[in-house]
Symmetry: C2
Subunit: 168 residues, 2 copies
């Protein structure tokens, strides 16, 4: 008697969806998620800003010393709460005089994915340690990726920025 009922429940649970998508209660596909891992961290050593990669990733640094600048992709780990990841608009720089702005239109440290991007001048690369001139991140901050700064890809001309983001 209850077999067709069970079968209906089972098909309802295993409803066909593209891989990686799950259905929310509202019937809309939920966001697909990916896993990123810490490859190292920011450290402050004798007043110097350094990125210390976990030893297992050291081979990935081969040749980095031939570039002058590196783009460091790191994680705003202090903001990793569902509440802060739900914020979509802020007053930039925490200044109420700045207009309400979308998190994708400013560099707020709260956003759905807590990815931070800092362009740094390389001072030295030795073993698994990259010393940079300065990085605006706390000691112990997890690093996710490093990309060399290539002007052909990463620089722009005729740049326009909003009033609030201009030097005062």
């Amino acid at each position: 008697m209850c077999r067709p009922f069970l079968a209906a429940i089972v098909s309802a649970i295993f409803v066909a969806l593209p891989p990686g998508l799950t259905e929310s209660r509202a019937g809309e596909p939920e966001a697909k998620t990916f896993s990123v891992r810490r490859i190292g961290e920011i450290q402050k050593q004798d007043g110097r800003d350094v990125i210390v990669l976990d030893k297992q990733y050291q081979k990935g640094l081969l040749g980095l010393e031939q570039w002058s600048h590196v783009q460091v992709i790191w994680w705003f780990d202090k903001n990793d709460t569902p509440q802060k990841r739900a914020v979509l608009q802020v007053h930039p720089r925490g200044d109420k005089d700045n207009p309400l702005t979308g998190v994708f239109a400013c560099r707020a440290p709260v956003r759905p994915n807590l990815i931070a991007l800092s362009l740094c001048k390389i001072v030295s690369v030795k073993d698994n340690v990259i010393q940079v001139e300065k990085i605006d991140a706390f000691e112990g901050t997890p690093v996710l990726d490093l990309k060399p700064y290539a002007p052909g890809l990463d620089s722009a001309s005729d740049v326009k920025v909003p009033q609030w983001a201009r030097p005062k």
Copy 2:
């Protein structure tokens, strides 16, 4: 008789570790991982390159139209395999004539975290759709984050690049 034995197993499993860290078989802490979610995707519409955000994130675009350029952070989803995420050195651009180079010293689409970064000129922002001049990503590619291009943060002078990365 077997209770102390069971207790020992349970304590071995729940050994005290800092939050987010798990112990590998070798006894070394494994990488801490974080979860990132797709906020939208790249689409090609009538020959135009557009970023279509999921509707739930549209509020995050407020004010983006006041910037000329956006940095698009996306996911190399076609390479999301343990094998490709284990690659640490490549010949850049798949060219054996280029020297073996660490993935953190080039822009290879294989790397431990499959994060891609593209600087794009904004053509228009309308509702949840950003049209850009060009983005070098496949149709359907997941987008993770958008950051406006701020010259004060994102541009560099006195830039040095290795021989293989220079225009030929």
